[in-house]
């Protein structure tokens, strides 16, 4: 075990996967010679050279589209969108082509494509750098959406994503790059896709969260435990495939649920979680499900950003509401 932050864990994983499998290639803007604008791909160019990792022209559509061609050629491309908000420039390739290659060709090809992108707020980025698009992407059948919340899971889930024969969008929280540290297993470490984990045990209510919100939900729950409340935090880890069984078990055990996410409320993935809770665990519900999320406006400017992204206080207040205590 080694204590790493999320960025270091991601970098370690990329090194290991590129060493393990010659077919893995990395492409994106500024990924090679400068090691990525966040240094996520640091050291890969020096170790693996210009035939394994590529500085691409500033063209997200071509990055995503070329990944399709690379996969057809039998390679395993790990493409980077420098920020998830700029994936909009590649949506026609991501949703119309990457997601459909297997379905259109009835598995003639394995679209073993991973698209990595940082996202999420709280770090005072300019416009479109913090947007949470996972709800929109989850509605594209054929994609998998993976959202690690810990450094260990970042390494384990990224390894599984790269090895997965289906296309995976791997979302990395900006605030977590250096802000989330933890013990990371040395050597090969695989976390399966489609499996949620209990980040924090509890019996009175459950907060369902993903990515950086998991950390905040745990902190809010720790604070509430001083008031005698026992709150469970369920870290989804994958939005697609979604672990229906884990959600059902967590909700059945207490009947009180809070869902928290950064995206705008309308159409956010939180709605999918709430629908799942109602479908799976209706007969266990003690109180209406409470959602915490961003507001129905575009991700805002820095001066008001902190009021937009759900914080510990808003999560704790939501938990109190669902427990019907003052």
């Amino acid at each position: 075990m080694t204590e790493l932050n999320m960025l270091e864990a991601i970098n370690e994983c990329l090194h290991a996967e590129m060493a393990r499998d010659d077919r893995v290639v990395v492409l994106g803007e500024d990924v090679a010679r400068t090691g990525g604008v966040f240094r996520a791909t640091d050291g890969l160019f020096e170790k693996f050279g210009e035939n394994r990792i590529f500085d691409m022209p500033l063209a997200e559509g071509a990055i995503a589209g070329a990944s399709v061609g690379l996969a057809i050629a039998g390679l395993v491309p790990v493409a980077e969108m420098q920020f998830l908000g700029f994936a909009y420039q590649a949506m026609h390739q991501i949703a119309g082509q990457v997601a459909r290659l297997r379905y259109r060709t009835q598995s003639r090809f394995d679209p073993a494509i991973t698209i990595r992108a940082p996202f999420g707020g709280g770090v005072r980025t300019p416009e479109l750098h913090s947007d949470s698009l996972e709800g929109q992407l989850a509605n594209v059948a054929g994609l998998k959406i993976v959202v690690p919340a810990t450094a260990a899971d970042a390494k384990g889930l990224l390894a599984s994503s790269i090895r997965d024969p289906d296309p995976v969008v791997f979302l990395e929280p900006l605030r977590g790059y250096r802000g989330i540290r933890g013990e990371v297993p040395d050597g090969e470490h695989l976390v399966p896709l489609g499996s949620a984990r209990t980040a924090r045990p509890g019996t009175d209510a459950v907060v369902i969260a993903w990515s950086h919100q998991v950390e905040l939900a745990c902190r809010a729950s720790d604070r509430l435990s001083e008031e005698g409340l026992s709150i469970r935090v369920l870290d989804l880890r994958s939005l697609v495939p979604l672990d229906l069984v884990a959600i059902a078990e967590a909700v059945d055990s207490c009947g009180r649920v809070v869902v928290t996410e950064e995206s705008p409320q309308t159409g956010g993935f939180g709605g999918e979680v709430v629908a799942t809770v109602v479908e799976e665990s209706f007969w266990s519900l003690e109180a209406p499900v409470v959602r915490v999320s961003g507001f129905d406006v575009p991700y805002p400017v820095g001066m008001v950003e902190d009021s937009y992204v759900p914080d510990e206080d808003r999560i704790a207040a939501a938990v109190r509401r669902v427990l019907e205590v003052a």
């Binding site: 022209p57 559509g61 071509a62 589209g65 061609g69 491309p77 297997r102 259109r104 009835q106 003639r108």
Partner: protein, 339 residues
């Protein structure tokens, strides 16, 4: 100039005649309600067949738009079989089996162009031989994907042949409303590699241009953009009425330049073709497409086939949906929890 041999020219005319014959049969099938929308090939035959005959199917890839597949005989009879499966709307229409190096119809215009670049790039990274020939039309060259992919191909020096079949019309939009550039070939200047214009009705000229581009690519000299000029002799698709916008005199003049008539005249003059040969080729083409159509119609379809091949393995949700579909209860999630 690299000229195809007489045998190659004869074979190319067989392919061209077969393509048009089968395209017309498909047109009729659509008008009979037996298949869905199709794009007729009339006028494009030389540009497609001439290009494909320069390729080596054992290592070169073809990425079509949606008009070309009927003319890709060089890549085997499976292509036609899958065209007919595609036409009847069977899911397996898109599964052209390995090791055939052809991708299925691409409906979203120009999106196959970045795929072609990535594929060519992937081949060179693995030291695999071969080039990638990607077809698209004059209209498609206005899409962002064309520019992004062309630019990337230039930077990479990838072994791609960009073949723009300029048939003068993007449905009802004539080329002078599609671009202000001097030609479509001229756009290669933005990408840093050569752009070449060629008479798309002249099968020899097409063969020569594509052959040259292929040699360049194999020698590591990078991509080429070829603009093959033809005229769309039929409607855009079965859903189009060109009499509303195509000037009659232009169409008549274009008919005089019909690529099949042109090559047929030359081959007849060399004693390589006659009416009997022509009739036999047409009859064989009809027999082939009829057989492919019958085979397509009798291809089994499982009741839950629609759910296959989205992922390599069902997610929990998909498994529920599949169970619901198979149970016939009409409940999408019949694995579920109404209890």
């Amino acid at each position: 100039m690299t000229r195809p041999s007489d045998e190659q020219r004869r074979q190319m005319l067989v392919d061209m005649v077969s393509a048009r014959t089968q395209s017309r049969r498909m047109w009729n099938l659509q008008r009979q309600g037996q298949i869905g929308t199709m794009a007729p090939i009339d006028g494009h035959e030389a540009a497609i067949v001439g290009a494909v005959h320069t390729l080596d199917p054992s290592c070169d890839w073809v990425l079509p738009q949606y008009r070309e597949p009927v003319a890709l005989y060089r890549y085997g009879p499976e292509i036609l079989e899958h065209v007919m499966l595609y036409n009847i709307g069977h899911p397996s229409g898109g599964h052209i089996p390995a090791p055939i190096r052809v991708l299925p119809h691409q409906i979203s215009l120009a999106t196959q162009i970045p795929h072609a670049v990535g594929l060519a790039w992937g081949l060179t990274l693995q030291d695999d031989p071969g080039v990638v020939l990607v077809f698209f039309g004059d209209g498609s060259s206005s899409e962002g994907d064309f520019y992004e992919a062309g630019n990337l191909a230039g930077v990479l020096g990838a072994p791609v042949i960009f073949l723009c079949v300029n048939n003068q019309w993007a449905i009802s939009t004539p080329t002078h409303l599609q671009t202000a550039a001097e030609s479509f070939a001229a756009k290669a200047a933005a990408f840093g590699f050569p752009g070449v214009q060629v008479d798309g009705n002249d099968v020899d000229a097409v063969f020569d241009a594509v052959h040259t581009a292929r040699e360049r690519a194999l020698a590591g000299q990078g991509p080429t953009l070829i603009e093959a000029t033809v005229y769309r002799l039929g409607p855009h698709t079965t859903a189009d009425d060109p009499t509303r916008y195509v000037p009659v005199e232009d169409l008549e003049a274009a008919r005089q330049r019909d690529p099949i008539a042109r090559l047929r005249t030359e081959l007849e003059a060399s004693g390589l073709w006659d009416d009997t040969v022509h009739a036999d080729v047409e009859a064989a083409a009809i027999a082939d497409i009829d057989a492919a159509f019958e085979k397509a119609k009798s291809t089994p379809l499982e009741p839950d086939a629609m759910l296959d091949h989205c992922y390599s393995q069902d997610t929990q949700r998909l498994a529920r949906q599949r169970a619901g579909m198979l149970s016939g209860l009409g409940d999408q999630d019949a694995g579920g929890r109404i209890s």
